[in-house]
Assembly symmetry: C2
Homo-oligomer: 462 residues x 2
């Protein structure tokens, strides 16, 4: 009888609702589109693990990255600051390249550094892209260890190798890892070059699984940044040709498998009530690559643009006992992860420093609506648009496909994002007061960023 | 102890897996877009009941209606035949109108008539649109009873009433029921005119709930065809202004509430293991009405066109014990409901009659993949396109917005629908063999429809 009562006690106690600080796992993809997961409406890519994660957790439908390209978006996630503030966006160079001399300044405080106050174990696995020189690598930014590729998987391209863009609609095309001289790093040492990108998703996943097992008895922060589905697309043997959606779908289905592995490990280790997992991506789909790129679903345009398809990303929070299941239509952003994790861990935010994130912890627990009512859209170090409640005002735009080019505009464009989900109907003419109010917000925000650090992306190695 | 064993027996017996014939409930919407449900990727319309129905049942992502407009689509669902076969599509009039003299010929066999062999109780609730003259009403087509409006909710428009199209982006616009002289019928009698469309979704739902309760002890077929979210949009008081997505979202959220009511009733009556519920719609969203119409999500175009947005519809099958949960990416169609229901009920199919449906019962039970590998796209009595596996060949098209007009084409267009989900990349030039094969299929199918009944839609009341 005593044993029975003990059993009842065990199953009824809400383990982890108080007590130890939660573990955080961020699974961050690269160029994944808003419409590429089953639970976000994709008809032919099968993502049963992510669908289940969404059903058991919170599916956020209006969640933003702070910039529509890789380097700035990552800097923003880790620091909780718009990339303009720390110089991680540039009018001159869109992201960091293998010949770049810069990186995320040491003076910036990352999530890993914030959580170190509370003695978290920290690991970065996967793509970094915040500086590949030794002084900019993850271990200089609060991470105990690093394993992954330091920049995009299409960089260091070998001269004369095939033009991927021409092959983008050929379902039989598969790239050669030897066309890309991308290094794989363990901490700050190159351990493989070119990295065997065919197995990169699998290997990063297995590293993450091992890390979770090894750290189950202490709070940890695991930043798993997959280098895919960025072009060129690589996938391990068991997933090749498996999806209806071609190579892009194969890659997604392998990432989905990896998510399943990670959640299963968290459950098997018995730490599911103490762990919060976030799944999202760095920016929208790379539409120029046609069927080799992803889909923004109903959203307009993709990567590199400040339309919704460029910056609104499919996001799921999961954490049995810590995250109340449901669909969240309130706004959120990767900018919010730092203050949210700090609040949940009881860590202090950096003093005397402008932060752009909101604490979402009470949204995760189901106690409150999202405190975020505003979002600013930056690209190439220029302020393009603002969202306030349902309204979005564009003052600058980039071409949806060739996103390097500024697009001509007749004047500011106003969209009601909640009713006009595809930014199809400009209503600036009939809403002059809202245009005026949002214009003022843009001016005020721009003024607030005038004390930003200088451009960190433009400098090249001599 | 005996009582305990009896209890165990009760909860472990797979009730309904064999034994009595299942009940069928078809919940059919009007002009609902592929992208309008949460589980199909809508960011701002909340459909928790449909999301749960999908999670507990089968979400079909490649499911088709046989025609992109109302009357032909409904004729096809009820008869399992392309509307060209029974004359329910016309080059002259797009659908039936209040001055139409025709309707579904008595010689046609509907699902209700097929199930009558097996003594099913049958009811039609909601929009009919297969002929409003007495000889064409539901009770002449195998239904025991009828309650609803006989044609579209925008017909019988009162002269001089406001132009809905002009008001389509005004979030404050709400139509007046008195602008539409639409009748509400009980069996074959008009009981209200104009129908109070504000409460039509609620009233049809409650009728359906009562019907299920009253018929819980015998097999039944309930065809609940909501007249919304067809334009003009009406919604009952508790749902007005509730959704982020404006009036369109309000209407959807009321329909979702109704789905919840129906599934809850089925569970409360203890017949959930004996009942299969299908949720779908008659065609894609009416895009001309901008934010007052729905969204096709990632699919191209909408209602009235033979692009995917016109004919691929968000479809869910639910039936604990009879439907194996999962996402089904195989093809299906409303044409398949008749043979599927006939198989599950053990009813005979009509003899000497061309049917276009496939029996999906083994897909529902999880025992087989979908037998459907082919689909033909008809509009206005013309064959526009064919799908064979992932390939779709268009030979005719209608303008995406003003769907009355034929669109100019440079030649046949070929799309790979599983990798190119938005029909964006015509690959006819590089796949001449596939074009040739699909051309032959079109010719053969056209030849197979030469014995069709004459046009039933063109004739007007003298």
């Amino acid at each position: 009888m005593h044993r029975f009562l003990a059993f009842l006690f065990l199953i009824l106690t809400p383990i982890g609702l108080e007590g130890r600080s939660p573990n955080f796992v961020v699974i961050f993809c690269d160029d994944l589109g808003y419409g590429d997961l089953g639970c976000f409406g994709n008809p032919t890519i099968k993502t049963p693990n992510l669908d289940r994660m969404a059903a058991q957790g919170q599916k956020w439908t209006q969640f933003y990255v702070a910039d529509p390209v890789c380097t700035p978006s990552r800097a923003a996630l880790l620091t909780g600051r718009y990339p303009i503030r720390n110089g991680m966006t540039s009018a001159k160079r869109v992201v960091l390249f293998p010949d770049s001399a810069g990186g995320l300044p040491a003076s910036e405080n990352t999530i890993a550094e914030i959580l170190k106050q509370k003695h978290y174990a920290t690991a970065a696995i996967g793509k970094w892209h915040l500086g590949h020189l030794p002084q900019y690598l993850p271990m200089k930014q609060g991470f105990d260890s690093y394993y992954g590729i330091p920049y995009s998987n299409d960089m260091d391209k070998v001269q004369g190798s095939p033009n991927y863009r021409q092959n983008a609609v050929d379902p039989n095309y598969y790239p050669d890892i030897n066309d890309y001289n991308v290094p794989l790093l363990e901490n700050d040492k190159v351990i493989e070059r070119p990295a065997d990108q065919n197995t990169i998703t699998e290997r990063c996943t297995e590293r993450a699984v091992e890390y979770i097992k090894d750290n189950r008895d202490q709070p940890f922060f695991l930043y798993l940044a997959h280098s895919l589905p960025h072009i060129p697309l690589f996938v391990s043997e068991p997933f090749r040709g498996r999806s209806l959606r071609g190579l892009y779908g194969d890659v997604l289905e392998e990432i989905d498998w990896g998510v399943g592995r990670i959640l299963e490990t968290i459950r098997n280790e018995g730490i599911e009530k103490d762990t919060i997992v976030v799944f999202t991506t760095d920016n929208g789909p790379w539409l120029a690559f046609k069927t080799h790129g992803g889909s923004a679903g109903p959203l307009r345009a993709g990567k590199g643009t400040t339309f919704e398809g460029g910056q609104r990303v499919p996001t799921i929070f999961w954490g049995p006992g810590r995250v109340k299941p449901g669909v969240v239509t309130g706004m959120g952003s990767t900018l919010d992860l730092l203050p949210t994790f700090a609040a949940l861990a009881g860590a202090k935010l950096p003093a005397r420093r402008k932060l752009d994130g909101y604490d979402l912890s009470r949204v995760l627990s189901g106690e409150a609506e999202s405190p975020r009512r505003t979002f600013y859209y930056w690209a190439r170090a220029e302020l393009h648009a603002v969202r306030s409640g349902p309204w979005k005002l564009h003052v600058k735009q980039r071409e949806p496909i060739n996103y390097g080019r500024e697009a001509p505009m007749d004047g500011p464009e106003l969209y009601h994002l909640e009713t006009d989900i595809s930014e199809a109907y400009d209503v600036a003419d009939t809403h002059p007061d809202i245009v005026k109010r949002l214009m003022k917000m843009l001016d005020a925000h721009k003024a607030d960023t005038e004390d930003s650090l200088p451009d960190q992306l433009a400098a090249r190695i001599k």
